[in-house]
């Protein structure tokens, strides 16, 4: 079950991982994108951390504050995509605090916003298997790592990398990698799973 405390702890851990991996994320984004994923995500998550300190009064406000900071600060495609994910969790959290229900709502929001589907070499290739694993009660670090790695041989069909067509093969998708950190942080946060 998600609470204000463990959700803020989860998002803070995510922010720390993104900050630690900023240059790696931009490096991944260099051959198949515009080399800004690390900087964009850090800018967003610095704003998120500020918005969550002090912690908002309830879970819905935690997700709303996170979403608004990401939407207004990230700049690239990741802003609307992650922002929509957290907005959908905010909406769902008014009636539900189950992680699996919230993550499923977030995934549906990402799919609608970006118009991508599984296999397009986007963050959905991490979100979809992770949501399934959470629903089955079987989320492990290996599930997350395998999902991130699965994007390497894919041909990008959405996002900036899609302009490269076949040349996008052989590179991890930066959004998939940053989503991997979100779920790694989830696994590392006590009391959620």
């Amino acid at each position: 079950m998600l609470t204000v405390e463990n959700t803020v702890a989860w998002i803070d851990q995510f922010a720390d991982q993104i900050e630690a991996k900023q240059s790696y994320l931009s490096e991944l984004d260099t051959p198949i994108g515009d080399a800004d994923h690390g900087g964009n995500m850090v800018r967003g998550l610095v704003a998120v951390k500020a918005a969550l300190n002090p912690a908002p009064a309830d879970l819905t406000k935690v997700f709303q504050a996170t979403a608004m900071a990401l939407i207004s600060k990230v700049g690239g495609a990741s802003g609307p995509l992650y922002g929509t994910a957290f907005l959908e969790m905010a909406k769902q959290s008014k009636t539900d605090t189950d992680l699996e229900t919230l993550l499923a709502a977030a995934l549906a929001g990402i799919e609608k916003r970006g118009g991508a589907t599984t296999g397009d070499k986007t963050l959905i290739d991490v979100w979809a298997p992770v949501v399934s694993a959470v629903q089955a009660g079987k989320l492990t670090q290996a599930v997350v790592d395998d999902a991130v790695a699965s994007t390497e041989p894919m041909v990008a069909k959405k996002g900036r990398a899609s302009y490269l067509g076949e040349r996008s093969v052989g590179h991890l998708d930066p959004g998939a990698v940053s989503s991997g950190y979100l779920f790694t942080a989830l696994l590392a946060t006590e009391g959620i799973l």
Binding site: V74, G75, G76, P80, R113
Partner: protein
């Protein structure tokens, strides 16, 4: 009912340039822009798009954009705006120019859309 144009680009100068181009043929059409992020970096900003909607003096807006993430921010801004906004997946410069020329000539929206249809590229 009046129709206006909003241009959304990842780069402030591109948005300004397209505005300058289309205003040549549409001096009576309200053309407002949202270029770059809030920090004037490459990217798009939902807040800037909302502002371009608000500043547009028309009742109804035709919106044109350059790359994918601009569309996502546009869609979020549309969901939050009270104005009616029509979003086109067309080539930015050609379609904004086409729409501006036709709106200046008071061509109705359905006919403008018929001219925009072959310019759909995304």
């Amino acid at each position: 009912m009046s129709l206006g144009i909003v241009i959304v680009s990842h780069v402030p100068e591109i948005a300004l340039g397209v505005q300058r181009l289309v205003e040549q043929v549409a001096k009576d059409v309200s053309v407002t822009i949202a270029g770059g992020t809030d920090e004037q970096q490459v990217g798009t900003s939902m807040a800037k798009i909302m502002k371009a909607f608000d500043q547009n003096t028309a009742d109804e807006i035709l919106a044109f954009y350059d790359l994918g993430s601009a569309k996502m921010n546009l869609e979020m801004a549309i969901e939050m705006s009270e104005k009616t906004v029509h979003l086109y997946d067309t080539a930015l410069i050609e379609s904004a120019y086409t729409a501006a020329s036709l709106l200046q000539a008071a061509v109705p929206l359905t006919d403008v859309e018929a001219q925009l249809a072959p310019l759909k590229i995304k």
